[in-house]
């Protein structure tokens, strides 16, 4: 609680320092993420509205039941793998930020590389799943999976699935690219010269946000 004590004794709004005790770029990353929350929120709420307006909906355990090399009839298994990959890459990112706090260049690079590998593993899983579903006849505008009550379904399920997981996958992809860039910068000693690793903290926020969105994509598409 040293922070709370310091906060109580500081005149935050008297000028000369950040009233939020945050560097400008980091604060703006927070506000960007808040706006992105509303973008994803709008997409997921669209999914909720369309699903609520339908008399029946495809059963996710029927749609997502395959695992590479193991065949089908295995609901939840593949998506569990994807979820754990993303959680683990979030943990390695936290560790990179932690090393950055201590100015440990080697530690930052090591954990950033693990984070990048986690991101690439997740993207590979998603590529496999999209390919698999596409082979089964699912794509924007076509949905081969019947509703849970046996009636013929509309294409809403596929449309929303590919749009939302696609938008999330695009975020993961951008995250991996930015992670690679900042890792190279760390390796070149840019942050060492700057005297701090705040850039790692900023990309870290973005990366955790991507993990956070997946928590809800996983929840609404695969679990409920």
């Amino acid at each position: 609680m040293a922070n709370a004590a310091a906060a109580a004794n500081t005149k935050w709004w008297s000028g000369g320092k950040s009233p939020f005790n945050l560097e400008y770029g980091k604060l703006m990353m927070w506000y960007f993420l808040m706006s992105d929350t509303f973008t994803f929120g709008a997409l997921l709420i669209t999914y909720g509205t369309v699903r609520m307006s339908s008399d029946s909906w495809p059963d996710p355990n029927h749609v997502f039941q395959s695992f590479p090399l193991l065949g089908s009839g295995l609901p939840l298994l593949f998506v569990s793998l994807m979820t754990f990959i993303l959680i683990v890459s979030s943990v390695t990112m936290v560790l990179a930020v932690h090393e950055g706090h201590h100015g440990n260049k080697k530690g930052v690079i090591k954990w950033m590389i693990w984070t990048i590998l986690g991101g690439l593993a997740f993207l590979s899983c998603q590529a496999w799943e999209w390919t698999h579903l596409h082979h089964e006849g699912a794509w924007w505008g076509s949905n081969p999976f019947p509703n849970a009550d046996g009636t013929v379904s509309k294409s809403n399920f596929s449309d929303l699935f590919f749009t939302i997981t696609g938008f999330h996958g695009f975020h993961v992809f951008s995250g991996v690219v930015i992670n690679i860039i900042v890792t190279i910068m760390a390796w070149k000693g840019v942050f060492e010269r700057r005297g701090h690793y705040l850039m790692i903290e900023k990309i870290g926020l973005y990366w955790h946000f991507v993990d956070l969105v997946w928590v809800f994509v996983f929840l609404f598409f695969y679990l409920v």
């Binding site: 005790n21 945050l22 808040m34 909720g48 939840l76 701090h196």
Partner: protein, 145 residues
């Protein structure tokens, strides 16, 4: 311990040197993994229940509600520990959290709209077969009789 500067903007670092943050990261990782495993277990329970044709709908809804609450718990841990929002100054936290209250309206309004849309369609579609069968039938066989 190297001294780090933050361009003069930041008054105190977010992480004091030599604190127990590694322990906190490990603990949060375990919590997130356990919550995910519970969610998967509940998801599997729903799958098993669906196999029985006359399963209890209210129990399935209850389980789904629990899974949603668990996910919100995961979101809380990711944001407050991994993203360090819990360590920020209260005013800053409020500038993030207060706008998110819009979601309360957002979710209620749009899910309500979806339900109403379904109810209206189910109520009027059977009463107005001509309008709804025109798509399938050739034009000269449709129309009012």
């Amino acid at each position: 311990m190297e001294h780090q500067t933050f361009g003069g903007e930041v008054t105190f670092p977010h992480e004091a040197p030599g604190d127990d943050s590694i322990k906190r990261i490990r603990k949060t990782t375990i919590i997130l993994s356990v919550l995910t495993l519970i969610e998967l277990g509940l998801g599997l329970a729903i799958y098993m229940m669906h196999k029985n044709p006359d399963y209890s709908h209210s129990l399935v809804h209850l389980i789904k509600g629990v899974v949603i609450i668990l996910s919100l718990g995961k979101a809380f841990f990711i944001v407050s520990i991994f993203m360090h929002l819990g360590d920020e100054i209260r005013n800053m936290i409020m500038t993030i959290v207060v706008p998110l209250c819009l979601f309360i309206w957002f979710i209620i309004a749009f899910l309500w709209d979806g339900v109403s849309w379904k109810d209206l369609r189910n109520e009027y579609a059977p009463k107005d077969p001509v309008k709804h069968e025109q798509v399938e039938q050739p034009a000269h066989e449709g129309g009012l009789k």
